[in-house]
């Protein structure tokens, strides 16, 4: 049974009532005949746009978007981004500094375009291929087009549907069965300006059976612009593979960022995912993860550090389609100022997914009187021999702990910093790669030091 919690929508273009919705529709009319891809993909783009047209932008009456009212957050839709010019390319080369000092293979995607000249495509490890989505769609690579968004729950989501409709470029990464890539691949997404724009990027990563890969995404842009990003990554993981995925969100302070990850995991997979959100005015990270094979082991974590009027939403749908898998989710949010964090996690255990072992926990630490934390940890269980649980907490820093540290001569500010560090540290520690882990810790520390 599927949830039918959202109210039925009025359908047709008349549902598009807001300025932003009309601007998106106008952008679609202008661009739809020029988007790359073979006929079947064009049909899928059309269908995806119809879904948007029928429902409009997600708003608070759509259950899945209850706490992140995109219709209200998007006062307008910016024009589609143009490929970066010379200055933009220079900026793009300098992007991704959050992982400076970590030995990674950089793939740069600026203003929605994969910049080959700025990317490190030389000496690819055996079994590894990296290309651009625009090339794959242009050449009609049927394998790529059929893999894009083959995840059913994500398909229903309007933000993801818009990505499918408008996607133009991104990275296509394939790793052959049994291949191991020790050096992490860093997808550097950036927006370079010079005027506010909307960026759509879509990437596809296929990891063959028994292969090993660490993949990092970072997203950034200038503070000056209220640009809008809609990015998506489709991840297909073969049996027995090991994949680490880290997404670092350091968008500019006025940016709107909506990201979708779809992951289809085979059997005996080890998958560790991490969402680190620190930038952007309004951020939504949605993860649709499906276990298609038994004995898969999942660890999904999130660390969110917010201040000012920032809004960050992590929404997770974890579908145990097959039994015998283990999943652990740990999401931590630190909230200062008037910020608001949202965690919605849903674990689905289908009727035959016996022996599923799932545990989800989300914790929010409120540092200011005016911050807000909303949690919705959900279980949807149809199998009787499972162990599933969730825990959620929200609260301020523990005064007793603070007192303990202060009694030992540590100043108040430092004591708070230590406690917050250890709070988010638990989530950051799930990242297996030492260099990336340290880079995230350093970013968290910088955030804490900037706190007044």
């Amino acid at each position: 049974m599927q949830t039918t919690m959202s109210k039925p929508q009025s359908s047709g273009p008349e549902a598009l009532t807001s300025e932003a919705e009309r601007q998106i529709a106008a952008a679609w009319a202008g661009v739809k005949d020029h988007l790359p891809g073979p006929a079947p993909l064009t049909a899928r783009r059309e269908a995806a746009f119809r879904r948007f047209e029928a429902a409009g932008l997600p708003h608070r009456r759509v259950e899945e978007w209850k706490y992140t009212d995109l219709r209200a957050l998007m006062r307008d839709a910016k024009p589609l981004a143009q490929p970066p010019g010379e200055i933009g390319t220079v900026r793009a080369r300098a992007a991704g500094a959050v992982l400076a000092g970590v030995d990674v293979r950089r793939i740069v995607i600026a203003d929605g375009v994969l910049l080959k000249e700025a990317s490190d495509l030389a000496d690819l490890e055996p079994g590894l291929s990296i290309g651009s989505l625009a090339d794959a769609l242009g050449s009609g690579d049927a394998e790529v087009t059929s893999r894009l968004g083959a995840q059913s729950p994500a398909e229903k989501d309007v933000a993801f549907a818009l990505n499918t409709a408008f996607m133009g470029d991104g990275a296509v990464i394939r790793l052959a069965p049994g291949a191991t890539v020790a050096r992490p691949i860093h997808l550097v997404f950036c927006f370079t300006g010079p005027v506010p724009a909307t960026v759509f990027t879509r990437s596809l990563v296929e990891v063959g059976a028994g292969a090993t890969l660490t993949l990092v995404e970072s997203h950034e842009g200038p503070d000056a612009f209220d640009y809008q990003v809609n990015t998506a990554l489709d991840l297909v993981v073969g049996d027995g593979a090991t994949v680490d995925h880290v997404k670092i969100g350091t968008e500019g302070s006025a940016a709107l960022h909506v990201a979708t990850l779809t992951a289809a995991l085979g059997r005996d997979v080890t998958f560790r995912g991490m969402v680190f959100a620190i930038g952007g005015a309004a951020v939504r990270n949605q993860l649709f993860v499906r276990c298609d094979g038994a004995h898969t082991n999942l660890m999904l974590a999130g660390a969110t550090l917010l201040k000012g009027r920032q809004h960050a939403d992590a929404t997770l749908v974890l579908d145990h389609a097959i039994g015998g898998c283990q999943s652990r989710e740990l999401f931590k949010g630190v909230l200062d100022g008037d910020s608001r964090s949202v965690f919605q996690g849903k674990i689905v255990v289908r009727p035959d997914a016996q022996k599923t072992d799932g545990k989800m926990s989300s914790h929010a630490l409120l540092l200011s009187e005016t911050a807000e934390a909303d949690h919705k940890p959900e279980l949807e269980i149809f199998a009787d021999d499972v162990v599933c649980g969730h825990g959620a907490t929200a609260g301020a820093l523990d005064e007793d702990l603070k007192f303990y540290l202060m009694a030992r001569g540590i100043p108040r500010k430092e004591a708070e910093t230590l406690l917050i560090q250890s709070f988010v540290g638990e989530a950051i520690d799930t990242v297996a790669h030492e260099g990336i882990r340290e880079a995230l810790s350093a970013a968290a520390t910088r955030w804490l030091e900037a706190r007044q």
Binding site: M1, P8, E63, A371, A373, H375, E378, L379, D384, D385
Partner: protein, 493 residues
């Protein structure tokens, strides 16, 4: 872990086809004409001999209802309800408010006898042997749309407690009814509550004056008897400053192939330092094993802890109804007020339960506690849906939530949908599932004394569930105990 055999058998014994209260009382009935219109609302109001303000209130609600849409967000699935095909009022023929039990139709009295409900004041509830001098229970018996008997009225009056059908209260205590009716569940609250506001027929009214501890348990027993009718009861309980009252509610209906609608509204108001304890054993006809028939139980229950240090506690044991849609809630408005929700919901056959609670923390230092156990068997779906929220000014709010569920068999579903909204930094919310929290030490201790592991688990878990049952008054605990001496060791959070 899968359910142990004992649990499976216990649940089987209360399976839908074992429904004991499915008989029908054959009496002549007077009904309102079929369907719903302003005239029907006027008809009901006239039948109850209501003052004009009450009729206006109902008509306002009816007009509002016409503009509303039936909610679809709950995880329940049922065909569209033909609101125009229902009868909104049914009462035993030639019904005039009986002066004493001797005036009540003997068939009705027999019905309550069969149900084990004591209408004669010297009688006691079935199954409970009470020593002399122990507490007694006052009963208001609601049969379809009318209250047929209210016991111990005189004795309660001596203590200053008002306990009467709400239709009488509208006439006799209009100042209280006007002041409080609709003040917790506004007329426009939701589709079913608004419908109820337009057509409610009977229910109980309780007022406990300042400083009075109600001398006995109060209870209402609801019975739907007539075909094609909906029951729309309305209950209003006011505990004035420093008072205490415990109220119990029970419900059954005959076995029929059709679905019947029960859309009730319950409002509780606790003023400074007052406490209300509200207990429900809901055993409406659940439909047969194929899902034919059964009651649609769409109920709005809400308590308002209006005064400082007031307390409202909901305890519910839900075994009946084809569909349950019910979220007994607490608005914690008064500083230092406390809300509690203890629930055991068992679904069998093709029953669908979507139930839970809302704890809305508005005042300072308010606390709440939610303990919910859901057990799904057969082809049923059992959903816990709950909201805990702390508003900006709810400094020092505390909540603890624990919701466990258990599945028996592989054709049912158990779901939890908690919403936790913290808008105040000093609020501390904890939400957890105690799935694997049966202490190894306890198991070891039992097994060391010769119990098998299964017995040990059953013993430990039963002890845990009974902890919730202790919140029921003794009168109901006996019945509830029979329904639930159930282990939850395979439970999922």
């Amino acid at each position: 872990m899968p359910a142990v055999q004992e649990t499976v058998e216990q649940v089987r014994s209360i399976d839908v086809d074992q429904y004991k209260y499915g008989f029908e009382t054959l009496i002549e009935t007077e009904r309102a004409p079929k369907g719903l219109s302003e005239d029907i609302v006027r008809f009901i109001s006239a039948k109850k001999d209501e003052p004009a303000w009450m009729l206006e209130w109902r008509l306002d609600a009816y007009r509002r209802w016409l503009t509303m849409e039936e909610p679809t967000w709950a995880r329940v699935d049922y065909p569209k309800i033909p609101y125009d095909e229902l009868y909104y009022y049914a009462a035993p023929k030639a019904f005039v408010a009986p002066k004493s039990l001797d005036d009540v139709d003997p068939e009705i009295l027999k019905t309550y006898e069969k149900l084990g409900i004591p209408l004669r004041e010297q009688e006691i509830l079935a199954g409970v042997q009470r020593p002399e001098g122990a507490s007694r229970v006052a009963v208001d018996a609601v049969f379809d749309s009318v209250s047929v008997a209210t016991t111990f009225k005189e004795e309660l009056k001596k203590a200053g407690v008002i306990f009467m059908p709400i239709s009488e209260a509208v006439r006799e205590h209009p100042e209280l009814v006007r002041k409080y009716l609709g003040s917790v569940v506004p007329v426009t609250d939701n589709f079913f509550a608004t419908l109820n506001s337009a057509v409610f027929s009977d229910g109980s009214f309780v007022y406990v004056p300042p400083g009075v501890r109600c001398p006995m348990e109060l209870s209402t027993y609801f019975r739907i008897n007539e075909r094609n009718t909906g029951q729309f009861e309305r209950t209003l309980i006011i505990a004035d400053k420093g008072s205490y009252v415990s109220y119990l509610e029970g419900c059954t209906a005959p076995r029929r192939d059709e679905n019947q609608l029960h859309a009730a509204v319950v409002e509780l108001i606790a003023l400074d330092d007052a406490e209300i304890k509200y207990s429900t054993v809901q055993n409406w006809y659940p439909g047969d094993s194929e899902g034919r028939g059964g009651i649609y139980n769409f109920v709005t229950k809400r308590g308002d802890c209006r005064g400082a240090r007031s307390k409202i506690s909901w305890t519910q044991v839900e075994t009946g109804s084809a569909i349950t849609w019910k979220y007994p809630s607490c608005i914690l408005r008064g500083d230092g007020s406390r809300g509690e929700f203890y629930s055991i919901a068992i679904s069998n056959g093709r029953q669908q339960v979507d139930s839970g609670t809302k704890m809305i923390h508005l005042g300072k230092n308010t606390t709440s506690r939610i303990i919910s156990k859901g057990i799904a068997a057969g082809r049923s779906d059992n959903t816990y849906r709950g909201l805990v929220s702390a508003h900006r000014k709810a400094t020092g709010a505390r909540n603890f939530t624990n919701c466990d569920s258990l599945l028996i068999g592989s054709h049912c579903g158990a779901h939890t949908v908690p919403y936790i909204e913290a808008k105040n930094a000093s609020a501390v919310f904890e939400h957890e599932a105690t799935t694997s929290k049966i202490s190894e030490d306890m198991l070891f201790y039992c097994m060391q004394r010769g119990l098998s592991e299964e017995e040990a688990v059953a013993l430990v878990v039963n002890g845990f569930v009974k902890d919730v049952l202790q919140h029921l008054p003794m009168e109901f605990a006996v019945e509830a105990q029979k329904l639930i001496s159930i282990s939850l060791e395979g439970s999922v959070g």
